[in-house]
């Protein structure tokens, strides 16, 4: 028993080192969930047509999730027949190494299949299906270390457009939002799956967002956007720290919050808007105070990135650059059409829901496009967030995952 603990601790140390390694993107929105890559040496302008394609696969079934990349592996969720599946791919050529079913796949009028992105952690990978099936899989062969259905066990009900969360690792805890009664957010022991705490003061149903972890002046805090509010709970015990409703709507809250220094930014669409909150740690708790509320950023599902003091994201269908501290609008442009984005090496990598991929400079001065190309239509809006990792651009669209070489030669 003791030796097992020690072994886990050891693995834990190893993993934290692994996650920080250059060239990895081991989870949703990258190592620190900011969706900002630290890579450099990427193409400043795309060639006509598209950057060279390294490989492309088409066996992922359905789904809206993005990719997690660690070492020589890529993890991505999809479907096989009627199952919701985690795929482990060879990073060099996209070939499947293993595939493991988490449970049944769900259909939805806006497209079926999983929406989440796996979280890679060395010898383990964690993934949550669209139906609440959460599992820890061994990366060597995809075998199940443990599995729980978080909707059943914490009495959450599935969301209209199905669970879309990517589980968050915080130390030894795996954080997910079942949205159950007195179990809005829960922490599970990542090694065993056993419950560590439940946020018993929070009973909001789950939104479509994923949690981030924030160090608020020494108070480690889990931050997310539920079906009702932007919230923060204490990372060590799940105590509810704030519950801010103004930036949430009652239809769909999707965007992962943005944390920077002592502030958190929430945004949602459906005529809602965005808000910046100032966070202040007091006696081990955190107080949140509204800096501004604005209707100028109503982000639906594409997320926002913060680069050098400016937020970039689609306000409904319009790409918008907004000053983080003030909410002031710098510019608006239709760009590639309503979509999603990521950031690397001075540029925004854009993916419009109508399959247009674009590159634009991340500058508050003006919208400056540096290239675009069309990917093939897969019958559903292309909502999976793009990933830049190791000089490659990864674009997932339902069954297809394509890898492009964007390294400057």
């Amino acid at each position: 028993m003791h030796s097992a603990r020690l072994l886990f601790t050891f693995i834990g140390c190893f993993i934290i080192a692994g996650a920080a390694a250059d060239g990895d993107w081991p989870q949703w929105h990258g190592p620190d969930r900011t969706n900002v890559s630290t890579e450099t040496g990427l193409l400043k302008q795309w060639p006509k047509g598209a950057p060279p394609m390294v490989w492309s696969i088409s066996n992922l079934g359905r789904g809206y999730g993005s990719v997690a990349i660690q070492g020589d592996r890529i993890y991505v969720q999809g479907t096989q027949i009627s199952s919701s599946v985690v795929f482990c791919l060879n990073r060099a050529d996209g070939k499947t190494i293993w595939a493991r079913a988490l449970g049944r796949s769900m259909d939805q009028q806006r497209g079926g299949g999983p929406r989440g992105t796996p979280t890679a952690d060395g010898e383990s990978v964690y993934a949550l299906s669209e139906d609440g099936d959460l599992a820890c899989l061994r990366t060597k062969d995809g075998s199940v270390a443990w599995a729980r259905n978080i909707l059943k066990e914490f009495k959450g009900s599935n969301a209209e457009w199905l669970l879309s969360e990517s589980p968050l690792l915080d130390g030894n805890n795996l954080i997910v939002t079942p949205g159950g009664n007195k179990a809005g957010i829960v922490a599970l022991d990542k090694a065993t799956g056993n419950t560590v705490w439940t946020a018993s003061e929070l009973s909001d149903p789950a939104g479509y967002s994923s949690c981030i972890v924030a160090d608020v002046q020494g108070v480690r805090t889990i931050v997310t956007l539920t079906a009702r509010a932007g919230v923060g709970v204490r990372a060590n015990d799940g105590k509810l720290l704030w519950h801010y409703e103004r930036a949430a709507n009652d239809t769909a809250n999707v965007a992962t919050p943005v944390f920077f220094k002592d502030k958190v930014f929430y945004t949602s669409a459906y005529n809602t808007g965005c808000a910046l909150l100032r966070l202040k740690a007091v006696d081990g708790e955190v107080k949140a105070e509204e800096v501004y509320f604005s209707r100028d950023m109503m982000n639906h599902h594409g997320g926002v990135v913060l680069v050098n003091g400016y937020l970039y994201g689609f306000s409904s269908a319009i790409l918008t650059c907004m000053e983080f501290e003030t909410g002031k609008i710098q510019w608006r442009d239709r760009s590639v059409g309503k979509g999603t984005l990521t950031y690397a090496d001075g540029n925004l990598y854009l993916l419009g829901e109508n399959n247009m991929v674009g590159l634009a400079e991340a500058t508050p001065a003006a919208y400056k496009e540096k290239g675009r190309f069309q990917i093939s239509d897969q019958g559903w809006p292309s909502w999976a967030h793009p990933v830049v990792c190791g000089g490659k651009l990864h674009i997932r669209n339902q069954g297809i995952l394509a890898c492009y070489d964007i390294k400057e030669k």
Binding site: D107, Q109, R110, E160, D250, N271, R295, D296, M298, S316, A317, I318, R332, R334, G337, K338, E353, N354, D377, G379, W380, P381
Partner: protein
């Protein structure tokens, strides 16, 4: 049959016979806006003059009055009988005794915006499948004399007394109003389409009725179940005509039947074509149907999608209302806004043809437009129509040739209004733009309304009504003052 019964009402309201010859010398046009689109032809135009082109909700410049609504308001304003009627929810209860989620139809006094009465509908127990939470009343009512017709969130076609209980009388055969206070609605009759016609509306019943003579026309919203996999009630009517005095169904039709793609959230339009009074219903199967309005005889049908279109990517249904202008029908296609942006199609259709008129009745077709919820405005041979992606298009009504496109840079749910040589349009950012009507694009002004304008600007008696999510503004040039 009087095509616009409100004309006579308005004339009668002028006491001095002295002015009558002068009024008769002017074109006989109503100054009220008694139903969605103003008239059964549904054309979003008005000959009204001196409408405001600038206002400010902060400084109250040109703001005649403002009324607070619920938190979400989709029932576009209508103005008649000295009152303004809107559909909203109950997030800001006018009656502190009646709280919680309900569908609300509110009535305000036209002159000063004073709240007069409200009709309250409880939510259906079946929940979002038939009656999406928080959406309130989404139907825009039709007023005819002292009677108002609208569709509740429960799928009921209801006739109300425009006076409510303010006249101290419980009018009509219906006597079981749960609330009978002075600020409550007086129900004349009700037709429960779910119970009596087996209608299964998808998410919301929202049709805006049209009145013509003794008949009321509306779409039932019959559609798919929550899973979107089944149509629980394919034999239930999609389209009905009812007697306006009794609420009895005169004729019904279920042509879309088991081919409904999603829901049916459109409203009918009417017009005299080919020697017949016709009613036009956009079906949830993506076809437009023309009927003899009096008998219900199906005259023709028109496929609004290319034959190779595939639901939901490229095949659309009709959300917008068909407009009848110059003997032709103008209608563009779209989808539930939740389904996002996509390709759309705008058609000009000849309703004198018979049978499947997809080829024979197509005068022109434009596929530059995106998916839309917007109903067209046609004036002086030009068509103004917006799309969900946020583009306002101006085309030639005869040829379909494009003159200009204006980018709102925000989603548009409402429709343009063409009046007084200008075009008004609101968007999701809450901006209302005023453009010069005509073949040249010219923006006159842009005002922000504080929250999304999902509604369509409404002109009545010299006043422009603009509703955002939670407020109704009456806007008028203060220098001139509204005529009264």
């Amino acid at each position: 049959m009087n095509p616009t019964p409100q004309h006579s009402c308005k004339l009668k309201s002028h006491p001095a016979g002295l002015f009558l010859p002068l009024l008769l010398a002017l074109p006989l046009v109503s100054q009220d806006w008694p139903m969605w689109g103003g008239t059964p032809q549904r054309n979003m135009v008005s000959p009204m003059k001196n409408l405001p082109t600038s206002w400010d909700i902060k400084t109250k410049q040109n703001i005649k009055w403002k009324a607070d609504l619920g938190s979400t308001s989709y029932g576009n304003p209508v103005v008649a009988d000295g009152k303004v009627f809107v559909g909203t929810n109950n997030d800001n209860p006018k009656n502190p005794e009646i709280t919680g989620d309900r569908g609300i139809l509110m009535c305000f006094r036209e002159s000063d915006g004073r709240f007069l009465w409200q009709a309250v509908s409880d939510k259906l127990e079946s929940g979002k499948e038939n009656d999406w939470p928080g959406q309130g009343v989404c139907s825009s009512p039709a007023v005819d004399g002292k009677r108002l017709y609208y569709v509740t969130n429960r799928g009921e076609l209801v006739c109300l007394d425009t006076e409510g209980f303010l006249d101290g009388k419980n009018n009509g055969p219906f006597q079981d109003e749960p609330h009978k206070g002075s600020t409550d609605a007086d129900v004349i009759w009700k037709l429960d389409m779910m119970k009596e016609l087996a209608v299964f509306q998808h998410n919301m019943a929202n049709s805006s009725p049209a009145v013509w003579g003794e008949l009321l026309f509306l779409e039932t919203s019959n559609g798919r179940d929550d899973s979107h996999e089944k149509i629980p009630s394919p034999r239930a009517p999609s389209f009905i005509a009812a007697n306006k005095n009794t609420g009895k169904v005169v004729w019904q039709d279920n042509s879309p039947g088991d081919r409904i793609l999603h829901g049916q959230w459109s409203s009918p339009g009417l017009g005299e074509a080919g020697g017949l009074l016709q009613v036009f219903f956009p079906g949830g199967d993506g076809w437009l149907y023309g009927f003899n309005a009096r008998t219900g005889e199906k005259l023709w049908s028109f496929d609004l999608n290319p034959k190779n279109a595939v639901w939901p990517k490229t095949r659309n249904d009709g959300i917008a209302t068909p407009v009848f202008y110059d003997g032709r029908i103008f209608l563009a296609t779209g989808q539930d806004p939740e389904n996002g942006e996509g390709v759309g199609h705008l058609y000009c259709i000849d309703p004198t043809k018979r049978g499947d008129i997809t080829e024979t009745g197509r005068i022109w077709h434009n596929s530059k437009i995106r998916r839309t919820l917007s109903t067209a405005a046609l004036a002086d041979g030009l068509i103004y129509i917006s799309d969900f992606s946020g583009f306002l298009h101006c085309l030639d009504a005869k040829s379909g040739a494009s003159y200009w496109t204006f980018d709102m840079l925000a989603a548009v749910w409402g429709s343009p209004l063409a009046a007084d040589g200008k075009v008004y349009l609101g968007d999701e950012d809450g901006d209302v733009v005023v453009l010069l009507a005509g073949k040249e694009l010219k923006k006159i002004a842009e005002m922000n309304m504080g929250s999304s304008v999902y509604s369509t600007p409404v002109p009545a008696n010299g006043v422009l009504y603009i509703m955002n999510r939670s407020e109704l503004y009456a806007i008028a040039n203060t220098a001139a003052g509204p005529p009264n």
